[in-house]
């Protein structure tokens, strides 16, 4: 009895060991290092110098604009993704002919095979003076500025993160028990009230998963604001790159990174709560 219990524990430990070691070395240790850095000082030549001070945290308001931009554009971006993704996922899961479904899903995933950098760089040209504005000039709409605006950043965000939103919603809709829809119709509900009473509610876990996933990635976004925002729409990710690689102020960068992690945890927590409240289950589908 004891021996078999021991064996099963050993098995569990062995199975978890690789992932545990990975997380410890590449997540826990670096995070501890960042926390230690964040209470330090910038060395005269840049980098880190040991100290015990909260000065870096006190200095956080100096990057308030970056936090503000991120905290506004990340949820707006995630919401825009959601609005675009939902109809697509709905069509794929409930309306698309069975034999087309796999092909359509593949088409959504295929852009992932090209680097996001290349695709975002392409948008620079599409939105730039020789792209869409030049086309619109033929139609008489002159001097339209698209590139390097918050709108361009938002477009890039929706474009880049759309698949991450479609897939979880698709999964939750695909698993939907069709008999519930029939039951709702049998009980006299209109298609619209069936949608909001049944389909929409049961797809909430997928929506929150997609929303948190996109939102958290957006909190650390760096590339899209740099390329499509022209360096004027400054995210926390941009502030971090600047502090670590240009100003070489690692302690301040670390303090911002720690704060960003805390914000992400709060976002995740809230998303989970919202999902649980509305769908009545505690199902969490983080990929």
């Amino acid at each position: 009895m004891l021996a078999s219990q021991f064996r099963s524990k050993l098995l569990t430990a062995l199975l978890l060991a690789p992932a545990g070691a990975w997380l410890f070395v590449f997540l826990v240790l670096p995070f501890i290092a960042i926390i230690v850095f964040s209470v330090g000082e910038r060395a005269p030549e840049g980098g880190y110098q040991a100290a015990l001070t909260m000065a870096q945290y006190a200095n956080l308001p100096a990057r308030a604009a970056a936090f503000w931009n991120t905290l506004i554009l990340a949820p707006i971006g995630a919401l825009a993704c959601l609005l675009v993704a939902y109809p697509v996922a709905y069509y794929l899961a409930l309306k698309a002919p069975e034999r087309w479904r796999l092909i359509l899903l593949a088409l959504i995933v295929i852009p992932f095979w090209t680097s996001l950098l290349m695709r975002t760089y392409a948008w620079m040209y599409i939105l730039g003076g020789r792209g869409i504005p030049a086309l619109l000039a033929y139609a008489g709409i002159e001097d339209l500025r698209l590139i390097n605006t918050p709108g361009a950043v938002l477009l890039g965000i929706v474009y880049g993160y759309l698949p991450l939103m479609i897939l979880p919603i698709y999964v939750s809709l695909e698993r939907l028990d069709r008999r519930l829809l029939e039951a709702s119709a049998d009980l006299g509900a209109t298609p619209i009230s069936t949608f909001f009473g049944v389909t929409f509610r049961l797809s909430l876990p997928g929506m929150t998963t997609g929303f948190s996933l996109v939102m958290i990635l957006l909190l650390g976004e760096y590339l899209i604001p740099t390329l499509l925002g022209g360096g004027k729409v400054f995210f926390i990710g941009n502030a971090l790159v600047d502090l670590f690689l240009q100003s070489r102020n690692w302690p301040f960068g670390s303090a911002i990174a720690v704060t960003l992690v805390l914000v992400s945890v709060v976002v995740l927590f809230i998303a989970n709560r919202v999902s649980a409240r509305f769908s009545g289950t505690r199902q969490v589908d983080l990929i």
């Binding site: 980098g47 950098l117 003076g129 020789r130 500025r145 390097n148 022209g230 004027k232 690689l245 240009q246």
Partner: protein, 317 residues
């Protein structure tokens, strides 16, 4: 050459490198494409393939069969490395970076594996203080003649009469202006910033590189490019914050926007200015009358270089 997998390929590796160089001569600008992409950390293996070619014996010193250097994108003639490999049998691995600060971070972390790298003038004293580079053994550099140097450009390589680095290229930081869009002749940094807030509103770009953007704001008041005085820096800060809403972009990847006509005027390095003017003659390159930056990039050898003999050999070639 013996039968190998390469025989059936549509292009030879030499041809490929040549084509790549042609492609690169185009529009993508130097430091920032890489800064943005993080490609600076990735490595472009240029010479490894070529290292497989038959090589003459270099009996003088054991140079090994490969070395690694850290440098800037679009910066070297690939033929330099090819010839070096042909002559010495040492394949050159080229690591390209987006900024001096990134280069420093990598070298400071240790184990970079570079036997030669290309820092810019203002960073050399930092490398020296941090003990990351060591004095060059001039006896090994038979092609170097200190008398051929102009101190104005090369002084930073020498600290306390000890030579730590040899000059590679030098250039300036000025601005490029599309004279068809902004016809008024401009000659000063003060005009640059004024135009940015007037005729050039929404059409002006500045580097996302602190050194040059802050330095050229300082210059427009007639202060030193290198000023450390708090009151002068405060004035520069005030100017930059005032100009910011009028800018088209804050980016060092300005060639695409200048070429497309989205931007009309931009802070600009010599080499980019030359490329823009070559392809689009109405884009002129202007140096601010107040003065400004002259930069010199240097060759230096890291203290922990794994293949110093090859580093010296490449410096001598």
């Amino acid at each position: 050459m013996s039968k190998s997998y390469r025989d059936g390929l549509p292009v030879t590796s030499e041809e490929l490198v040549h084509q790549l160089a042609r492609l690169k001569r185009g529009s993508i600008s130097r430091r920032h494409f890489l800064g943005v992409t993080g490609l600076g950390i990735a490595t472009a293996v240029l010479g490894r393939e070529l290292g497989l070619l038959p090589t003459p014996a270099h009996a003088a010193e054991n140079l090994g069969d490969r070395m690694s250097i850290a440098t800037w994108p679009n910066y070297h003639d690939p033929a330099t490395f090819e010839n070096f490999t042909k002559e010495t049998g040492v394949a050159v691995e080229v690591n390209v970076f987006g900024s001096n600060e990134e280069m420093l971070a990598k070298l400071q972390a240790g184990g970079s594996g570079w036997s030669l790298f290309v820092p810019t003038n203002y960073t050399i004293s930092t490398y020296m203080k941090l003990g990351l580079i060591e004095p060059l053994e001039l006896a090994k550099l038979t092609n170097f003649d200190a008398k051929s140097e102009d101190k104005r450009f090369t002084a930073e390589g020498t600290i306390d009469d000890t030579v730590y680095a040899l000059p590679k290229n030098w250039g300036t930081t000025g601005f490029a202006v599309n004279t068809k869009k902004l016809a008024k002749p401009m000659t000063t940094w003060k005009e640059f910033w004024d135009v940015a807030m007037a005729e050039g509103d929404g059409r002006t770009m500045v580097h996302d590189y602190q050194l040059t953007t802050i330095g050229n704001a300082l210059k427009s008041f007639g202060f030193s490019f290198n000023s450390l005085k708090a009151d002068e820096l405060a004035k520069a800060e005030e100017l930059l914050i005032k100009v910011k809403p009028h800018l088209f972009a804050v980016s060092s990847d300005y060639q695409p926007s200048m070429r497309a006509g989205d931007a009309w005027i931009t802070m600009c390095w010599t080499n980019d200015g030359a490329q823009l003017h070559r392809d689009i003659p109405e884009i002129a390159y202007v140096l601010g009358k107040e003065g400004g930056e002259i930069w010199t990039d240097f060759f230096a050898i890291p203290k922990d270089a794994p293949n110093k003999p090859a580093g010296y050999a490449l410096l001598t070639i």
